[in-house]
C-alpha cells in the first residue's frame, strides 16, 4: 500500500504545479476575435446564421412564452425549407434558432443568454418578459450582442439608445396603448372615466399614456383604484369605482381571471360603462365571453394582428400560410394559440427584411439594416399597421388598431 504521507506531498506538489501552469495559460482566455472591424461576427458563415431566444416555456407564463418562440420558429423553418434566406451580400443562408426555457426567472435567463453567446449565436431575438430581458440588457451591451425585437411593452428597452444601442423592442408600449384609448375618448367630448390599474410600472405606463392623451380635452377621470396582481378578487375596487357612475372604465388589469371578475362584478352592480381592455387581457374566449362583455354598450381593445384561429380571417392569405406552416413546425413547441404566436411570426418577416439589407456579415451591419426598415407590411399585421424601425428609440411596431367587441370577436370601432 502507498505511503499516505508521500501521497499527500505528491498531490500537493502536483496541485501547485497545475495552478502555476494554468495561471500562465489561463490569462489568454476570452479573445473573441473582435479585433478587425470587417471580420465576420460569431454565428454567421456564408451558408448559415444562428439566432437564440430564451423564453418561459414552462411555469405560469409558459403559454405566451412558448408562442413567442413557436411563431418565430415557424417562420424561420418554413423559409429554410423553401431554400433559405437571401442576404444583401448575395449569399443565401439557412437561419437556425436555438431556444431555451427560463421559467420567467431572470437568473436563468442570464444563464441561457451566456450559454448561447458561448455557443456563438449571432443575435438574440424576440424574447418575452420584462424582468428577464432587463437582466440581460447590460450583458448584451457588454458582449455587444444584438438583443432585438423583444416581446415586451415596457418602454425601458427602446428609450435609451445611447446607453443601450444593442437593444430594442418589437411591440407598442403600454404607454402607447393607453394613449390610443385616451385619444378615442378625447374625440367624444365630455366623458367621465374610472380607471383601475395594476400597482406597478405596467399600470403606471398605461395610465401615463392615457392621461397624456386626454390632457386638455373634456375627458375627466372621476375615480381611480389600483390592485396587486396577487389580489384574489377586485370586487371592492369595482364597487368603489361603480359608485362614481363613470361613462367609461379603463381596466388596465393584466391578470386574466381578475379581468373576468371585473366584467362580471360591474354588471352585477348595474354599472355598464364603456369598457377598455388592454391587449393582453382581451381575448374573447378567455375574458370577454366568460365575463359576459355583451352586457356593456361597448368593449374596446387594441389589436395588432389578424387572428389565425378566428373564422373571420379563415380566407386570408397570410393566415392560410401561417396555419399550414404552424401545423408543420410550431406545433412541436406549443398547440395553444396566444397573440404572441402571431407577433413572433411577423418578427420572422421583419428579420428577413433586415437580412435583405445586410451587406456585411457583422452584428453592426445587422443592427444598421434592422434600423432601416420603413413602412413594411409584415404578414399577419392588420391593414394599416406597419413596421418602422428608423427611429431607434421606438419599438419596431408603433401603430395600434382600436377594435370593438362584436359578440364573437373583435371588429372595427363603430
Amino acid at each position: 500500500m502507498m505511503n499516505f504521507r508521500n501521497a499527500g506531498r505528491i498531490s500537493g506538489v502536483v496541485a501547485t504545479g497545475a495552478i502555476a501552469a494554468l495561471l500562465i495559460t489561463g490569462c489568454s482566455r476570452g479573445d473573441d476575435g473582435t479585433g478587425e472591424p470587417d471580420a465576420p461576427s460569431p454565428g454567421i458563415t456564408d451558408t448559415t446564421l444562428s439566432l437564440g431566444i430564451s423564453s418561459p416555456l414552462s411555469g405560469p407564463t409558459a403559454g405566451p412564452g412558448s408562442c413567442s418562440v413557436a411563431g418565430l420558429y415557424t417562420y424561420l423553418e418554413a423559409k429554410n425549407a423553401d431554400g433559405g434566406f437571401e442576404f444583401g451580400d448575395g449569399n443565401t443562408r439557412e437561419v437556425t434558432l436555438t431556444y431555451l426555457d427560463d421559467v420567467y426567472d431572470p437568473a436563468k435567463a442570464v444563464s441561457n443568454f451566456r450559454q448561447m453567446v458561448d455557443d456563438g449565436i449571432f443575435a438574440y431575438v424576440g424574447a418575452l418578459g420584462t424582468p428577464t430581458n432587463a437582466a440581460i440588457l447590460p450583458i448584451a451591451q457588454e458582449e455587444e450582442v444584438p438583443q432585438v425585437l423583444l416581446i415586451t411593452g415596457a418602454t425601458m428597452f427602446s428609450s435609451n439608445q445611447e446607453e443601450n444601442p444593442y437593444t430594442f423592442g418589437l411591440l407598442p408600449t403600454y404607454y402607447s396603448e393607453g394613449f390610443a384609448f385616451g385619444e378615442l375618448l378625447a374625440e367624444r367630448g365630455e366623458v367621465t372615466v374610472a380607471t383601475l390599474a395594476q400597482n406597478d410600472d405596467y399600470g403606471d405606463d398605461y395610465l401615463a399614456g392615457f392621461e397624456a392623451a386626454i390632457d386638455g380635452s373634456d375627458v375627466q377621470i372621476v375615480a381611480s383604484a389600483t390592485y396587486e396582481p396577487s389580489d384574489p378578487t377586485l370586487d371592492s375596487q369595482v364597487t368603489e369605482l361603480a359608485a362614481s357612475g363613470a361613462d367609461a372604465l379603463l381596466s388596465a388589469v393584466s391578470v386574466t381571471p381578475l379581468q373576468v371578475g371585473v366584467l362580471t362584478k360591474a354588471q352585477s352592480l348595474g354599472w355598464t360603462p364603456d369598457i377598455f381592455l388592454p391587449s393582453n387581457t382581451s381575448t374573447p374566449a378567455t375574458v370577454v365571453v366568460p365575463g359576459n362583455g355583451a352586457a356593456y354598450p361597448a368593449v374596446y381593445s387594441t389589436s395588432l394582428t389578424k387572428v389565425p384561429v378566428s373564422p373571420a380571417f379563415a380566407e386570408d392569405e397570410d393566415v392560410i400560410a401561417y396555419n399550414e406552416a404552424f401545423e408543420l413546425y410550431g406545433k412541436t413547441i406549443t398547440e395553444t394559440y396566444t397573440p404572441h404566436c402571431a407577433w413572433s411570426y411577423a418578427e420572422g418577416a421583419i428579420l428577413e427584411q433586415a437580412f435583405l439589407k445586410m451587406t456585411e456579415p457583422t452584428r453592426a451591419n445587422f443592427l444598421e439594416a434592422l434600423h432601416s426598415i420603413e413602412d413594411f407590411q409584415a404578414p399577419l399585421l392588420l391593414d394599416g399597421i406597419t413596421v418602422n424601425t428608423t427611429d431607434p428609440t421606438l419599438p419596431a411596431i408603433q401603430g395600434i388598431n382600436l377594435v370593438q367587441f362584436n359578440g364573437q370577436g373583435y371588429g372595427p370601432v363603430q
Binding site: F4, R5, A7, G8, R9, S11, G12, A15, T16, A18, I19, L22, L23, T25, G26, C27, R29, G30, L57, S58, G59, S66, Y99, L100, D101, V103, Y104, D105, P106, A107, K108, V110, S111, N112, R114, Q115, V117, D118, T130, P131, T132, A134, A135, L137, P138, I139, A154, M156, N199, D200, D201, Y202, E228, P229, S230, T332, I333, T334
Partner: protein, 368 residues
C-alpha cells in the same frame, strides 16, 4: 476497495489536507480556464449553496419547515442593490463590505422578528407562516419603487475587477472569486456551528422536544436561533446573487424558488454540509440539462430527475456511496456469498445523523 478502507483513508490527516488542497486548487483554477457562461453557472452554484445551507440549518438540522428562504435571498439582493445604486455618501472602497454586513444583519433581524412569533407554532402552521414571506415580499418589492425599481427591477454594474487586477482578471472571474470566497467562509462557519454545542442542541430539538426540555435546552430559543441563522445565510446569498446576476427583481423572491431550494436540499442530503453542495449543483445544473434534452419539456424532465433521485437515493446524493455499497452487499448476499460485516464507523455518525439514522432504522425493520 470496501468502505473500511475508505473510512480509514478519510480519517488520515494527510489525505484530508491533500484533498483540501486539491479542492482549493480546482476552485482557484477553474474560472481561469472556463468561459464566462461556466463562471456564471459556478457563481450561481455558490450563491444557492449558501442559501440552501441556511435552509439546511433550519430544516435539516433543526427540523423546522421553512418555505420562505427566497424572501431573505431577495431581501439581501435588494439591500445590496439599494446601497450600490443610491448615493448615500459611503466612501467608494467601503460600499462592498458595508453592503455585505448589512445584507447579513438586516435579513437576520427580520428573520429574528418573524421567528419570535412563528417559532411558537409547529409543523404545518409554521410552514404557512413562512410561505407568507415571499407572498408578502413580492407586492412590497413592487410598491416601494423608489428603493426597488418596481416590477422592472434594478440593474447594477458593480463588483467589477479592481484596477490592480487589470490585464489578468476579468469581471466574471473576479465576481467568481468574491462569491466563492464568501461561500467558503459561510460553509466553514456552518460546519463549526453544526458540529458544536448549537448543532447538538438543534439535533435534540429536532428529534424530541420533550427530551430537549428535560436536558435544559429551550426548543423555542433554538428554533428562533436556527431561523435567524437561516435568514442571515439567505441575506448573504442575496448579496452574492446580486454580485453574480447583477440584477434583482420581484421574481428573485418568487415562492417557486423557495420550493426548488427545499427540493434541492433534500436531493443533496438533508442535515449534511457536503449534501448542500450537491443540492446547489443540482439546483443550477438540472434546468440546463433539461434545456439540453428538450427545452419545451423542461418541467417534465426536471420532475422526472427529481423522482428518479428520490427513488434511487432516498437519503440524498450525499448518501450515494453508502447506498451503492448497500446495494452491492445485497446483491452479494443474494448470490450466496458471505457479506463482510461492516459496522458503521462512529467517527462518521455526527456528520450525517439524519439520513444515517433513518437508514439504520430501515435496516432494522428489514431484518425483523
Amino acid at each position: 476497495m470496501n468502505m473500511n478502507t475508505i473510512t480509514k483513508l478519510t480519517a488520515n490527516l494527510w489525505v484530508r489536507i491533500a484533498f483540501g488542497v486539491v479542492v482549493a486548487a480546482v476552485l482557484v483554477v477553474l474560472p481561469l480556464i472556463s468561459s464566462k457562461f461556466v463562471n456564471y453557472q459556478l457563481g450561481l452554484m455558490a450563491v444557492f449553496a449558501v442559501a440552501i445551507l441556511g435552509l439546511n440549518i433550519v430544516m435539516g438540522y433543526a427540523g423546522q419547515v421553512s418555505l420562505g428562504q427566497s424572501a431573505f435571498l431577495g431581501l439581501g439582493a435588494y439591500i445590496a442593490a439599494y446601497l450600490v445604486t443610491a448615493d448615500l455618501g459611503i466612501p467608494e472602497p467601503l460600499v462592498v463590505p458595508v453592503s455585505l454586513v448589512l445584507c447579513a444583519v438586516i435579513p437576520a433581524a427580520v428573520g429574528l422578528v418573524v421567528a419570535l412569533a412563528a417559532a411558537r407554532l409547529r409543523g404545518l402552521a409554521l410552514a404557512m407562516v413562512t410561505i407568507a414571506l415571499p407572498i408578502i415580499g413580492i407586492p412590497l418589492a413592487k410598491r416601494f419603487r423608489e428603493y426597488t425599481g418596481g416590477a422592472q427591477g434594478t440593474t447594477v454594474s458593480w463588483l467589477r475587477a479592481p484596477d490592480w487586477a487589470e490585464g489578468f482578471l476579468e469581471n466574471d472571474q473576479w465576481r467568481y472569486y468574491v462569491v466563492v470566497l464568501i461561500a467558503v467562509l459561510m460553509f466553514l462557519l456552518a460546519r463549526n456551528l453544526v458540529r458544536g454545542r448549537m448543532g447538538r442542541a438543534f439535533r435534540i430539538v429536532k428529534e424530541n422536544e420533550s427530551v430537549a426540555i428535560a436536558m435544559g435546552i429551550s426548543p423555542y430559543r433554538y428554533k428562533v436561533m436556527a431561523f435567524t441563522i437561516a435568514s442571515l445565510f439567505g441575506g448573504v446569498a442575496g448579496f452574492m446573487y446580486l454580485g453574480v446576476v447583477q440584477y434583482t427583481s420581484p421574481e428573485t423572491l418568487s415562492f417557486h424558488t423557495s420550493i426548488n431550494m427545499v427540493a434541492a436540499m433534500v436531493i443533496g442530503g438533508s442535515a449534511s454540509i457536503l449534501g448542500t453542495i450537491f443540492g446547489a449543483i443540482y439546483f443550477v445544473l438540472v434546468p440546463s440539462v433539461a434545456n439540453e434534452v428538450d427545452s419545451s419539456l423542461t418541467a417534465l424532465i426536471s420532475g422526472a430527475i427529481l423522482l428518479a433521485v428520490l427513488f434511487l437515493v432516498p437519503g440524498g446524493v450525499v448518501s450515494l456511496p453508502r447506498r451503492i455499497s448497500q446495494v452491492a452487499r445485497g446483491l452479494a448476499r443474494r448470490r450466496g456469498g458471505e457479506a463482510p460485516q461492516n459496522p458503521s464507523d462512529p467517527a462518521h455518525a455526527p456528520v450525517t445523523t439524519g439520513p444515517e439514522s433513518t437508514e439504520k432504522n430501515k435496516g432494522k425493520r428489514q431484518g425483523q
